[in-house]
Amino acid sequence: MAAITLNGIRKSYGPHTVVENLSIDVNRGEFLTLLGPSGCGKSTILRMIAGLDSPTDGGILFDGQRVNDVDPARRNVAMVFQSYALYPHMTVRQNLEYPLRKRGVPKARRAGLVDDVAAILRIGPLLERRSSQLSGGQQQRVALGRAMIRDPAVFLFDEPLSNLDATLRAHMRAEIIRLHLRLGKTMVYVTHDQIEAMTMSTRIAVLDGGRLLQLGTPDEVYARPATRFVAGFVGTPRMNFIPGALVQGDAGCVFRADGLTLDVPVPSLAPSGRQVVAGIRPQDLLPAEGGLPGRVTLLESTGQEVLVTAALGSQEVVMRLEDANGLRVGDTVGLAPRPGKLHLFDAESGERVGP
């Protein structure tokens, strides 16, 4: 187990900067997820932790020791790749044994370890098969086994589930959570899937354009997104955004939506006239008498809930309801945000405004 410190990391390829001045402390035994859209630099960060790439600037420390110039082989990390990266010319057993062989583990002990891991991951019957003869889910298991077999200090996952179908993905997600509970190792997990990030992580680091936007527990990131980008990226269905301004209302500061007669009191802020964007999660937008008139344009029922899309002036918003209450496409419904559930972001910078 090791604590990882990323200290002012920058990575550029020629004039192109992929990661900018990134500092994160990953605690011992923590499950940290790097979450962001493709091209946000998250895989590059993982590769730098593994030692496959070196940072242009800044230091990477394992338990306080600088490892910038340490070979991947000597960092005692294990990595699971999106592509699984099994050795195609070897059997499953040889794949699992490879990291042990490279570390000089005696043959008898290797066999025992392979059996243990095969039992945990239920890949015993596959041991003598070639990796090319396995299904995606089986390959994923073998890749996981190859990572855990040598008891590394740190586990690194690079979008390990994105090539699996939905059912298998949910299953393997649970498997990785269990693995973390069982081993208690430091794990760094890269994904663009916010469900994976929310369900698995101790903390989430949300990245965009090579910059760290927010670092916090899943609950913090969800309840109090630091920027408009984070607010839009985390949570499904996506948060609704309504542009407007902070102005003086009847009783203090209110958010007034552009072109709409919506005033929401925000007593903690000053009515500065500042241009802002209000974010409302779909479950925080409720049908209400005297609310904003929205015309229903789409109803999507999943059985347990209904997503109602409504046109509000020139834009569409989504409401999440437990049942449609007889709403039909074309109806007009009054909409109002749940009190205290309005997120405000600066219209220019996207930074969170207020508490």
Binding site: R47, A50, G51, L52, D71, P72, A73, R75, V77, A78, M79, F81, Q82, S83, Y84, A85, L86, Y87, P88, H89, Y98, P99, K102, R103, R130, S131, S132, Q133, L134, G136, Q139, R146, R150, S162, N163
Partner: protein
């Protein structure tokens, strides 16, 4: 279930066509083999007999004991074998370097590699002769080896570069993290995956050197150091009457190593390379 008659007919016609094409292409080879075991008096008989009345191995005995053929054969195998070995070894390492390391002029180099290969052989004949003679390798088999490597290496590099570029780099990264050194990654992970490509390259390189005529004719004069293509030509020229039977026997023996080579590596050709290592 009964197959509709039209479908059966179509299948039969297709089979006939396939066999006809196979027949056309294999006939010269069959004729070569048949002529090499025919008694001399039946060789040019009319109408030609596809199968002779009796078979004889006298032409092979003649070829192997009364001509310079065995010497030529050994020389050819040596020249082709050594140049293939050197070219494939260098090209494997070179192709790996070209696909996995970033260095200035990388893509330019990849394009220039084939440049020498694009020039007609005859253009380089005199300059190469001067170079080889300057190295003290004139009129020697090593001179031919050097020459063949000059041509084979760029070609091998070019072929193998494509193979190496298709190998997923993640697999090598995984091996590096698993504790393998650069060398271990190359020998234990890259080479086994690139084996089909290496085999294919070796076969092409070998055949290229084995069949080469022009340089072998010009660079080597002594009978003892002659290779098959110019050597067999000389055997044919020297006799007043062309001995077709011996010549066909020679052709059979010349073809044999290539067929053996193909038989040995065919397994690797048909194997999908890189399959199953990575997904997506």
């Amino acid at each position: 279930m009964k197959t509709p008659p039209m479908k059966t007919l179509g299948r039969v016609l297709r089979d006939i066509l396939v066999w006809a094409v196979i027949g056309v292409f294999s006939f010269p080879l069959v004729w070569m083999l048949v002529t090499s075991v025919k008694p001399r008096d039946q060789t040019t008989s009319y109408p030609p007999a596809l199968l002779p009345d009796q078979f004889t191995l006298e032409h092979y005995v003649n070829l192997l004991f009364n001509t310079a053929f065995p010497r030529l054969f050994v020389n050819s195998l040596f020249v082709s074998g050594v140049s293939t070995l050197v070219a494939v070894l260098c090209a494997t390492a070179g192709a790996y370097g070209m696909t996995r390391y970033r260095f200035p002029g990388r893509s330019l180099m990849a394009r220039l590699v084939l440049f020498a290969y694009l020039l007609p052989a005859v253009v380089l004949l005199v300059p190469l002769y001067v170079v080889v003679a300057g190295m003290g390798l004139g009129d020697s088999l090593w001179g031919l080896v050097v020459t063949y490597i000059t041509f084979a290496l760029p070609f091998a590099l070019w072929l193998l570069r494509a193979f190496m570029a298709a190998l997923p780099p993640d697999v090598e990264a995984a091996a590096a993290i698993d504790g393998a050194s650069r060398w271990a990654v190359f020998f234990e992970i890259v080479i086994p995956q690139a084996l089909p490509g290496i085999m294919a390259t070796a076969v092409f390189t070998f055949i290229g050197a084995y069949n080469e005529y022009l340089y072998a004719l010009v660079f080597v004069n002594a009978d003892a150091r002659m290779t098959l293509p110019p050597g067999v030509m000389r055997l044919v020229k020297e006799s007043y009457n062309i001995d077709w039977n011996v010549m066909m026997a020679a052709a059979v023996v010349i073809t044999a190593p290539v067929l053996v080579l193909f038989a040995c590596v065919q397994r690797h050709f048909s194997q999908g390379f890189g399959a199953g290592s990575v997904k997506g």
